[in-house]
Amino acid sequence: MSMTRRLFAGTTALALTTFGTGAMAEEPVRIALLVKALGIGFFEAARDGAEEAAAELGNVEIIYTGPTDTTAEGQIEVINSLIAQNVDAIAISANDPDAVAPALKRAMQRGITVISWDSGVAEDARALHLAPSSDALIGNTIIKLAADHLPDGGQVAVLSATSTSTNQNTWIAEMEKVMGNYPGIDVVGTVYGDDLADKSYREAQGLMQTYPDLDAIIAPTSVGIVAAARAVEDAGKVGEVNVTGLGLPSEMAGAIESGASQSFAIWNPIDLGYAAATVAYNLSTGAAEAAPGGTVPMGRMGELQLDDTGTGAMADPFTYDASNIEQFKDIF
């Protein structure tokens, strides 16, 4: 992966340099990475990714900033000071999609490139929105994670949040659409832990009793996946039942270590910060345009494909397993 990625990054960077020669000799391109609040591991990892992009692009200054609390008014104060400094681009993960919109529109009026990432803003207050992933990509990833460890097929069950959770239901529906690509994998049931640790734990126990030959539990929720892993450990079924889905590395490190979970996925904040900075740079220097349905290059992350609303999904959720959990468990 790293070889092809690096090669790709190299060619894209070269292409960008030719596009952006005008700016190269002059002042650095100043990109503000405006986060929900300072002191959050996830966003600090995103800053590291943005710095990586800056080093790759050259002549880019990353301003990592945000309020102390996750409030909209705090972010507006920061936006005002960024407008005052006349930065070249603002990439924001917003605390409130509407409250920050007037301030962002003012920034755009003064010629500042504005994009949102992670947590979006009103459509007319940004050039584009960089989503970490898409429902279709997530749906495919969660079943693929289970199938990768079941080469001969097997039984899997889903432990979801509540039966009315929009996100989880969408992902499960997307997963069912692609089941044809995974022959031999049989989804035997779906249960709901309501995103409560104890209820999720009991539901996972119930699954193992109802389906003695169960091979994997897919939990597309960070609460459910931890509870399911604990239920598998307590039942002594480590190695028999693999727990996977969407989770946070800090909470899942124990399950990876015990073997209750072979792998799980979630967006990679480093890649997200890298892509946000690269996209902001490309729009700000005029190397790319944010047209609905168009594409914007994101360096080593490939091309960002935009839909009608100017939203694009960065990539498949990133897979975490024994090989990289140590690196990420302290980040978020």
């Binding site: 945000g66 609390d69 909209a72 005002n80 000071s81 409130d96």
Partner: protein, 334 residues
């Protein structure tokens, strides 16, 4: 600023002035010096500071908080405190948001914002003056209570969809760079200056702060005055809620989180004795401007918010400690 001989200061014989001599005549002069220093530093440190529009944007850092600080100053001078002000903003804003969902117009929204503020103030005031409870305990309680209601109503959702005309308070301009909020701020400053420094009510406030028992025996209706001050603080919190909600165009339960401490800092930096009995409105106005300029200046240098609050804390300690330090040193050398 010319009220150096007001009855207020006469009642505080151990004011710093007598020992400091003529060099620093009053707290306000010290604050003006600090303001000039901050302004000069900012102008030198950042090429973007001296720009009319940027400075206009920067006033939003303090105008809403200062509205509450004026009422809070009177309350603290009278020996009480209200730590629930930021939570009152949250509750008032939530009420306005709920009303906007069912189609309330701008006048109704303003009335609801101010009304909820008044009710919250009355609740605090009744508990403190009616039951004789300490205000710090009561308002720590209502700090959780008022915001708790907002969280119950909203959870992780938000209210939006305010009428377009409602945006005038927080996003409107009166003339060129002069915002509507600046005008409201100035009018509040003037009103509270008159109230504190030019009416008998203001003198009663000082009297209560210096000696509540003495004030009671001289015929001042202490509880009624204190209740009125809680009402005023609630009302000003409601006004701040109207301005902030109008500026954001959206309500979340975390709105104005942590503002109570910034408001109290403003009041104390403005020279109001935290134990009650002394303080002036011009001092609070200067303190508000200083705090706004410090945070904006540091923002221009991209100093992270966490470091910024360290700066504000240091500034507060320095401004309060400096005169006392000078006094101590002089006393030792004399």
């Amino acid at each position: 600023m010319t009220d150096t001989a007001s009855p207020a200061s006469r009642q505080v014989p151990d004011r710093l002035r007598s020992r400091l001599g003529r060099a620093i005549r009053s707290w306000e002069v010290l604050l003006i010096a600090v303001a000039v220093a901050v302004f000069t530093f900012n102008a030198l440190a950042s090429p973007y500071f001296l720009n009319a529009w940027n400075l206009s944007d920067a006033t939003f850092n303090f105008t809403e908080k200062a509205m509450i600080a004026f009422a809070m100053a009177l309350l603290i001078i009278a020996g009480e405190i209200d730590l629930s002000v930021a939570s009152i903003i949250a509750l008032a804003s939530t009420a306005m948001g709920a009303a906007a969902q069912v189609g309330a117009g701008t006048p109704e929204l303003v009335a609801i914002g101010l009304g909820v503020g008044l009710l919250c103030g009355a609740f605090n005031g009744a508990l403190v003056t009616g039951l004789g409870l300490p205000s710090i305990v009561v308002t720590i309680g209502t700090l959780s209570l008022f915001r708790g209601i907002s969280y119950m109503v909203l959870g992780d959702r938000s209210f939006g969809g305010y009428p377009t005309s409602f945006a005038w308070f927080g996003q409107g301009y009166v003339w060129w760079v002069i915002t509507v909020e600046m005008v409201i701020f100035a009018l509040c400053a003037l009103t509270f200056w008159v109230l504190l420094h030019r009416t008998s009510f203001g003198r009663q406030v000082y009297a209560i702060g210096n000696n509540p028992t003495g004030a009671l025996f001289s015929g001042i209706r202490v509880r009624r005055v204190k209740f009125t001050l809680f009402l005023l603080t609630g009302l000003m919190s409601g006004l701040a809620a109207v301005c902030l909600t109008s500026r954001l165009g959206s309500t979340r339960p975390s709105i104005a989180q942590g503002w109570e401490l910034e408001v109290v800092t403003m009041v104390v930096l403005g020279g109001v004795n935290i134990l009650g009995g002394s303080g002036t409105i011009p001092g609070v106005v200067l303190a508000a401007i200083i705090m706004g300029m410090v945070t904006f200046g540091l923002g221009l240098l991209n100093v992270p918010g966490i470091v910024m609050s360290i700066f504000v804390g240091l500034l507060l300690i320095a401004v309060i400690a400096l005169p006392r330090l000078v006094t101590l040193v002089r006393a030792r050398w004399a």
